[in-house]
Each structure stands twice: as structure tokens, then as C-alpha cells.
């Protein structure tokens, strides 16, 4: 049963990923991305990480890809692209090299960490045993105690990004005007 779920989810993930790369229409590509994200959510559920699955759907499928689509629609780039022409000449060979590099990195990581993978994730089993909310409680405890600094730094980073975007997007008539306003 677990294998069956895994195979179905993998087909979703891989199919979606191929769709993102191969579809020439940006909106179709974004929808394929949603498929991939759903597949990952299914895998989270089958590994008892229900909270992660929910967050995956709410944040990635529900907010981020919606924003992608939003930008695609507003900018009007939703026509099918002609894949023959290449705006940046070096892009394609570089992508191939980087892709192989990434695969090599993943393979070495998996080979190196095979022993710990064989332990079959004790943490998750502990989390889902017993009561209903153990899962979320465990995540909350590790985020807000062990990794609280990393968590807070990430949120500060996000705020900096938002402020930066606002500053960049603001239209200024002239610098003289601006100093008059902000002073």
C-alpha cells in the first residue's frame, strides 16, 4: 500500500516536473508545478508529516504559484514561447552542466547518507504515535526552541525582501523631491 502510494505520488511529481520544463506555455508550466507540489504533499501524508503536507498545499500551491500565475497574467507573457530562439547563448550548455553537477551532488549525498536513511525516520514515527496533535507539537517545539534563531533570521530575511521590493518599486520624480518628502 505504501509502495503503491509512493509510485502514484512519484508519477505525479515527475510528470509535473517534466511538464514544467517541457510545456512551452508559461501557464501550463505553472499548473504542472502545482501537480508536482501536490505529489510532494501526498508523500508527506504517507510519511505521517500531515502538517507539512497542509503547509505545502497552503503556502506553495495556494499562495506562491498563484502569485506566479498572477504575474504571468498581468505581464501578458502568457503566450506560448518559441523555444528555437535563445536570448542568452551560454544558457543552455550551462544548464546542462549544472544539471549534471546537481545530479552528481544528490547521488553522492544519498550514497554517503545511506546508513542514516536505513533507520527509516524514527522522528516521524515518534511524532505520529499517540495523540492526534503530536505531529504539530513536535514541529512547533523544534522550530521555537532548537532552531529559534534560524527561524527568526529567516523571517527577518523575508521582511527585508518585502521592504526592498517596496523601495525598488517606488516611483521617484526626482531625488530632490524625495528628500523634501521624507525629511
Amino acid at each position: 500500500m505504501e509502495l503503491f502510494v509512493f509510485i502514484c505520488a512519484s508519477v505525479m511529481v515527475l510528470g509535473g516536473a517534466l511538464g514544467v520544463v517541457l510545456r512551452s506555455n508559461p501557464v501550463h508550466a505553472a499548473l504542472s508545478l502545482v501537480l508536482t507540489l501536490f505529489g510532494i504533499a501526498v508523500m508527506f501524508v504517507s510519511q505521517h508529516a500531515e502538517f507539512l503536507a497542509a503547509v505545502q498545499v497552503v503556502v506553495y500551491a495556494g499562495a506562491i504559484v498563484v502569485l506566479f500565475l498572477f504575474v504571468i497574467m498581468l505581464l501578458g507573457v502568457d503566450r506560448a514561447e518559441n523555444l528555437e530562439t535563445e536570448p542568452l547563448g551560454i544558457q543552455r550548455p550551462l544548464a546542462i552542466v549544472l544539471g549534471f553537477g546537481f545530479v552528481a551532488l544528490l547521488v553522492t549525498t544519498i550514497l554517503q547518507g545511506r546508513d542514516s536513511l536505513n533507520m527509516r525516520g524514527d522522528g516521524i514515527n515518534v511524532a505520529s504515535d499517540g495523540d492526534h496533535d503530536a505531529n504539530i507539537r513536535q514541529i512547533a517545539r523544534s522550530i521555537f526552541s532548537n532552531y529559534v534563531v534560524a527561524f527568526e533570521v529567516t523571517s527577518v530575511l523575508l521582511i527585508v525582501a518585502v521592504v526592498g521590493t517596496v523601495v525598488l518599486a517606488r516611483k521617484r520624480k526626482s531625488d530632490k523631491d524625495l528628500t523634501g518628502v521624507t525629511a
Partner: protein, 412 residues
């Protein structure tokens, strides 16, 4: 195996003996019943809305098909099925066909986690026994509980967004851009007021949330202080794209909104999804804030319906409470004028989100003080003072940005 069903369907004692035929049949039966209830309820809701609005506007409303015009929706539905199905030439064929289902399916999915009945009195936990198996009167009770409803409502954006885009025409596109911006912004306020409920009850599971609201005083509307309920209600209305937030289909500005190009069965799927969502959202509100299938009880006295057994009584209470909210939605539609788009965004971002965040902080402070045995009389005024200072800063920021905008001109 059992663990997997547990993680998919939640801690339902139905599967304690492994996956057998009877529990499987019970699940299939539940799915069927929930689906049929959804369809029939939607049909009745459309009739109810038309009749109630007609009453408020001194009209008669549907009165020809069936007793009191009850079958009018069925007649309209049959008519829609037999109309010509148009596929606009400039549309994106695949997405155009897909979009109605993307809005129809989530509308039904969200209904799966609502406790539809059962006996929650005296800490019973809503368990009923069917064919010798203990189970709950709800399709699924996943560990993520109410987060599932949130996830589903964020998926529902896709239906409307893609419908507008794939139509290949300007008005639907404008409607869908409006809709997605509106739904994404109000989801934040929705989630934050939901967090207040989760904080107070300490569980995500819907049956757990219902179970904790055993008397009128512990209903979450009282336990969280009315503010999260008010915010949830307003943002739910915006999330549903119902009046006064129905800018998605503002006829005067957008012809018909995101579904202008749709006809026949595809249009009826959107229509169905919209009303189904209204019912689901009312049920979610009742579950979160008004005790779901719990009877009204003050202290030790419970308002009991005579001659009906306790688990059936739960369903009756749920239907009664949901009906109140459906009526309120209709009332909104009949009495409130539509918001302007900038008013909508101001209300969402500048009022509802800060207010829900502030209230959530207040509740958290109160809870922390409770746990650590701090003096509430010191903690509460202090937290209110902090929130007030934040409020003043925010107002100053709004004023500064308004001034900037005046001197710089609009940025788009």
C-alpha cells in the same frame, strides 16, 4: 497499512481492527451521503436565497415548479444541461475545460471534515456505533483538521483564476485577476482568526474543536472573544466572493465576471460550487465558533429535543445553526452595497489582518500568563498597552504613506 489509513482518514476508531469489508462499506456510504447531501443542500440553498431575497424586496420569487417553487433549481439545472456548450475560439481549450472542475471539486472536499452529527455530550467525543463499528458522523477527521479547510479554500482560487485566463477575453481576465488578489489577501486574515480558535482549543481536529465547546460559555465565539469570529465571518464572505465583496462578478463593470464565456454545464458547475462553498463555509463557522452539533446548554441545563436520540439531535442542531448563517449571508446580499476595489483591499490589509494579529497576540499573552501563574491584572493591561502603541505606529505609517502618495502620484 493501518497507520496509513489513520494518517489519511484521521484517528477514526473505524479502522482499529485493520481494513475489513464493513468499515470500507461504511466509508463508501459516508462518501455517498456527504456528496448527495451537498448536492441537495445546494439545490435548496439556491431556492432559499431566491425566495428570501424576493421576500425582502416585496416580490414573490420562484413559485411555479413544485410546491413553493422548490423544484425551480432542478428545472434550471436540467435546462442548463441541455443548452449548447460553447467553446470560445480564442480560449485555451485544455484549461478552459479543466477550470470548472477545479472550482467544483474543492467545494465538495471541504465538506468532508465537518462533523455532521453525533453525540458530543458529557465528553462522548461524538462516537456512534454503526453495524457494530464505532465511528464518527463525519467523512474524515484528519490530524490536520481545519488546516485542510484552509488548504482547500486556497486551491479554490485556481478554478476562478484559470477560468478567467483561459477564456481568452478581457473582461473575464479582469474578473479573475480581481478574484485571485481578493482571495489571496483575505486568506491571511482567515488563517489568523483560525489560529485564535486553535490556540484556545489546543487541537486542529474538527471533532476535537467541537468536543471542547460543551456549553454556551465555552463556545469559541465566547472563549476567543467575539473579535476572531467577526474577522472570520467578514473574510469568509470575501473568500466566497459573495456580496458585499462580489467584485469578481460586478456586472456593471465586468459584464459577467470570470465566467462570462462559460455556458451550459460548465457554467452550472461554477454556480453549484459557489453555493456549495457558501454552505461549507457556514458549516465551518458553526464548527469553529458555535459548537457544531453540540446542543445549546448553559451550565448543567441542556436544551434537549424530546423523542430524538442524542446523536441524531446533533445533526438537527447543526442544520439549525447552519441555516442561521445561510440566512445571514442572504441578508448581507440583500442589504449591503458592493465595496469599491480600493476599499476592499484597505479593509483586508490595513484593518482585518492587523486586528486579527493583535487579538491573537493578546490571547497568547493571556494563555502564557495562565500557564506561568503570572498576575492577569498586570499582564493584560500591559499587552493592551503594547498593542495600542503598535496601532499608533501603524496609523502614523499609513499617514506617511498617504502623504507620499499624494506628492509622488499613484505608482501605477
Amino acid at each position: 497499512m493501518i497507520a496509513l489509513t489513520h494518517s489519511l482518514l484521521g484517528i477514526d476508531p473505524l479502522f482499529d481492527g485493520g481494513l475489513l469489508w464493513t468499515p470500507l462499506l461504511i466509508v463508501v456510504l459516508k462518501v455517498l451521503v456527504v456528496f448527495v447531501i451537498g448536492l441537495v443542500a445546494t439545490m435548496l440553498m439556491v431556492w432559499f436565497e431566491r425566495k428570501a431575497i424576493a421576500g425582502m424586496q416585496n416580490r414573490i420569487g420562484p413559485n411555479k415548479a413544485g410546491p413553493f417553487g422548490l423544484l425551480q433549481t432542478l428545472a434550471d439545472g436540467i435546462k442548463l444541461f441541455f443548452k449548447e456548450d460553447l467553446l470560445p475560439e480564442r480560449s485555451d481549450k485544455l484549461v478552459f475545460r479543466l477550470a470548472p472542475y477545479l472550482s467544483f471539486v474543492p467545494a465538495f472536499l471541504a465538506f468532508a471534515i465537518i462533523p455532521l452529527g453525533g453525540d458530543y455530550r458529557n465528553g462522548n467525543g461524538g462516537l456512534v456505533t454503526w453495524f457494530g463499528h464505532q465511528t464518527r458522523v463525519q467523512l474524515a477527521d484528519p490530524p490536520i483538521g481545519v488546516l485542510f479547510a484552509l488548504a482547500i479554500s486556497s486551491i479554490a482560487v485556481y478554478g476562478i483564476m484559470l477560468a478567467g485566463w483561459s477564456s481568452g477575453s478581457k473582461y473575464p481576465l479582469l474578473g479573475s485577476v480581481r478574484a485571485s488578489a481578493q482571495m489571496v489577501s483575505y486568506e491571511a486574515a482567515l488563517g489568523l482568526s483560525l489560529a485564535a480558535v486553535i490556540l484556545v482549543t489546543g487541537t486542529l481536529s474538527t471533532s476535537g474543536i467541537v468536543g471542547s465547546q460543551s456549553s454556551l460559555g465555552s463556545w469559541n465565539i465566547v472563549a476567543t472573544g467575539v473579535i476572531p469570529f467577526a474577522i472570520f465571518m467578514i473574510s469568509a464572505t470575501a473568500e466566497l466572493n459573495r456580496p458585499p465583496f462580489d467584485l469578481v462578478e460586478a456586472e456593471q463593470e465586468l459584464v459577467g465576471g470570470f465566467n462570462t464565456e462559460y455556458s451550459s454545464i460548465r457554467f452550472s458547475l461554477f454556480f453549484l460550487a459557489e453555493f456549495m462553498n457558501t454552505i461549507t463555509m457556514s458549516a465551518v463557522i458553526v464548527t469553529l465558533f458555535f459548537g457544531g452539533p453540540q446542543p445549546i446548554s448553559i451550565g448543567n441545563t441542556t436544551l434537549d429535543i424530546p423523542l430524538v436520540n442524542n446523536s441524531l439531535e446533533g445533526s438537527i442542531w447543526l442544520i439549525a445553526k447552519v441555516l442561521v448563517f445561510l440566512y445571514i449571508y442572504i441578508w448581507f446580499r440583500a442589504s449591503l452595497p458592493r465595496f469599491r476595489y480600493d476599499q476592499l483591499m484597505d479593509l483586508g490589509w490595513k484593518f482585518l489582518i492587523p486586528a486579527s494579529l493583535g487579538w491573537f497576540m493578546l490571547l497568547a499573552a493571556q494563555r502564557l500568563a495562565d500557564n506561568e501563574n503570572w498576575d492577569q491584572l498586570i499582564v493584560m493591561p500591559l499587552s493592551i498597552a503594547v498593542i495600542l502603541v503598535c496601532f499608533i505606529f501603524m496609523q502614523l505609517a499609513f499617514r506617511a504613506s498617504a502623504k507620499n502618495r499624494e506628492s509622488e502620484g499613484a505608482s501605477f
